[in-house]
């Protein structure tokens, strides 16, 4: 039935089940930031706790440690997850990016080797896409993997690798065909990070923590069996992974709905002295978070009815990144003369606003800048000519 906005009894039971589990398990005290070594370890531990309840990757098929949950169930899960104020997912690259990629392109051996440990939260994955000279222009990458018997010898320099400072493995693309150019001759390879010839150097972000890292490959040897898909098929596989990244699951609507709710509370606290125009911005933040949630349900319905996600992913990316930035800018304005105060300041109302604001600045940049997304929308959705 069209435009049916009622949850089924099974969905309602599922929500109740998630809510009860989260109430029982979400740590009462917030974990330290996952960008610190100690916090990373705490978040790893939380992944294991999630896995113990089989909540680690609910949309994965049961055979790989998931629940085979529908996208609607996933949305319900996320709503309850954020509602419970549960920790950030350190395992995100595994669950949403490499997991689906492995399921689509991996050999049975690769799936067996990697998926269960990913699901169990035992191995945490980092991405290795960008290089110093290839950001938006990923195809300009230079890192090489030279075949030597049943091994590849890796040389090169990846950067802006999220989670890599403390993760166990990374996935990335490397030039396996010497002399190849642009999108050709690339392969998708899985590399352990604690490994001879692999050196990881955390890069501090503007908030002072190493939210991403550089990875130097200095003649690191990895078995050819660590290649995902055919030699030379790296670009196509990476594009599939990027599609997963931009797709439905990169940012849960619930995240923004919780932030908008918090913003309303901040407004109520500050309204007396605030520019009344900020009230309209608070309401806009709520509206945009709702719109994002609604459109995600809409896309989920379409996908469950057999549709596929294409350039809509770019529409989503732009919408959530702009709403998140605007929401946090509004909070900064409401905090006014206290907005600059960092954690540790007695007068600071809530340090998470400043942290969230800085994080939101990255939204329009990462996972493909919004400029690139707008190009994609113009060319692929609207059919405008390439430059």
């Amino acid at each position: 039935m069209a435009l049916d906005f009622n949850f089924t009894p099974a969905q309602q039971r599922f929500r109740a089940e998630v809510r009860a589990w989260m109430q029982a398990h979400v740590p009462a005290r917030a974990l330290k930031t996952l960008e610190s070594e100690e916090g990373f370890a705490q978040h790893r531990e939380w992944e294991r706790t999630l896995a113990s309840g089989n909540w680690g990757m609910i949309t994965w098929p049961q055979q790989y440690g998931g629940r085979g949950a529908s996208l609607i169930d996933w949305l319900i899960f996320e709503e309850e997850y954020y509602r419970a104020n549960a920790p950030l997912r350190v395992n995100q690259n595994g669950i949403f990016l490499l997991g689906p990629t492995l399921m689509e392109f991996g050999t049975p051996e690769q799936k067996a080797r990697f998926l269960p440990r990913m699901a169990a939260g035992e191995e945490i994955w980092a991405q290795g896409w960008s290089e110093p000279q290839s950001g938006s222009d990923l195809a300009a990458l230079r890192a090489t993997a030279v075949r030597d018997g049943d091994h590849y010898v890796l040389k090169g320099h990846k950067i802006w690798s999220s989670r890599a400072a403390f993760a166990d493995w990374c996935f990335g693309i490397f030039r396996t065909e010497p002399g190849s150019e642009r999108h050709k001759g690339l392969s998708f390879i899985l590399v352990p990070l604690r490994h001879p010839g692999v050196r990881v150097r955390g890069i501090r972000q503007i908030h002072g923590e190493p939210g991403f890292a550089e990875i130097f490959f200095e003649d690191a040897r990895v078995p050819v069996a660590n290649r995902l898909g055919d030699a030379g098929a790296g670009w196509q596989i990476a594009m599939a992974t990027a599609g997963f990244e931009r797709g439905l699951m990169l940012r849960s609507p619930a995240r923004f709905q919780v932030a908008a709710q918090k913003l309303v509370q901040l407004w109520r606290r500050q309204a007396a002295g605030a520019d009344p125009a900020l009230g309209a911005r608070v309401a806009q933040a709520w509206m945009d978070a709702e719109a994002y949630a609604l459109n995600t349900y809409r896309t989920a319905s379409r996908l469950m009815a057999g549709g596929s996600i294409g350039v809509e992913a770019s529409l989503n990316k732009i919408f959530w990144s702009e709403l998140d930035l605007e929401l946090h800018r509004t909070a900064m304005s409401l905090l006014g003369d206290r907005a600059e105060l960092a954690a540790g300041s007695p007068e600071c109302l809530d340090p998470s606003w400043l942290e969230g604001f800085m994080f939101s600045l990255a939204g329009p940049i990462y996972a493909g800048t919004n400029e690139i997304q707008r190009n994609l929308i113009a060319e692929r959705l609207l059919g405008l000519p390439r430059a």
Partner: protein
Amino acid sequence: MDFTFTEEQQLMAGAFRELTADICAPEQLRALYDGRDTQAEARWARLAELGLFGVLAAEGDGGLGLADADFILLAEEAGHAALPEPLVEQAAVALPALGAHAGLPSVKALLPQLASGEARLALAHSRNPLANLPPAPTHWLLCESDAAYLIEAAGVDVIVEPSIDAGRRLGRPVVRASAAPLCRGAVARALGENVLSRAALYVAAQSLGVGARMLAISVAYAKEREQFGKPIGAYQAIKHHLASVAVKLEFARAVVYAAVAHVGRTGARSLAALSHAKLAAADAADLAARMAIQVHGAMGYSWEVDLHFYMKRAWALAGAWGDHSFHSRRLQGLVCEEAFALGPDQTFERTA
């Protein structure tokens, strides 16, 4: 939970689009703008022929007995076409609102006539005092704050109020002092609230449609018009303008469709959802209009180019049935005072 439309719904919308391509083609709108419109009666007849006035009427009243979810795409198409006649006001606002009060005298008898299009209703409301008139109206429904009137057209004097949108024939009713109200007090308020709620939703849907039309016109122009040796649509600035319109329309669409579940409800959550739909759709259409004229340049500023028909409809709809201030204040009040539970598990909550 299913956010898709059925094949039937899509087919009905497709059929309506075909009809509008025939009866609201730009040359017909141009005739209207140039004061040479002779097609209003013919258009009304074609709409009636397709059964559009009765989509939401009960089968016993000669209608199709369908639900709002079945009409929302039709309202979008009415916007897409900049349809001059108030099909939506009659079929999706007044008729179902009156249908909920069929026990009131004279209402029951009128419903089949409204459903067939034989009766032509002019609809005014204290929040929208200028009615968008059908050709030769036969009846008026006036919702004042504490009383409602259902009167034959002969009993109402009309002051004409020209709109910049030549497709809207606006009129302010002057009711004779002797007119007897249809109802008063709580019943009149319920009727008035239902009318406003429905109208806000369906104006939002029309805004989506007219926004989509402007985007389509602009994309077509950007592919064709060349400057500095290439189509202007190859320039990043033009691409980004139009991509931003696409984003805004797409997300407004989700909000409008979801608001269907709230229509006619008076709880805080529902009022917020309906105001959200109206605001989001008006914003998207406003951006579409601004970017359309920017992409077209002087061409878009010309009377002889079609774009202005749709821009003017977008501007008019922005103020209709609760303008920006009304919906924005209402929504800010509800959200910022937490008049209903916020939070991620509340997205689809509904209250009476």
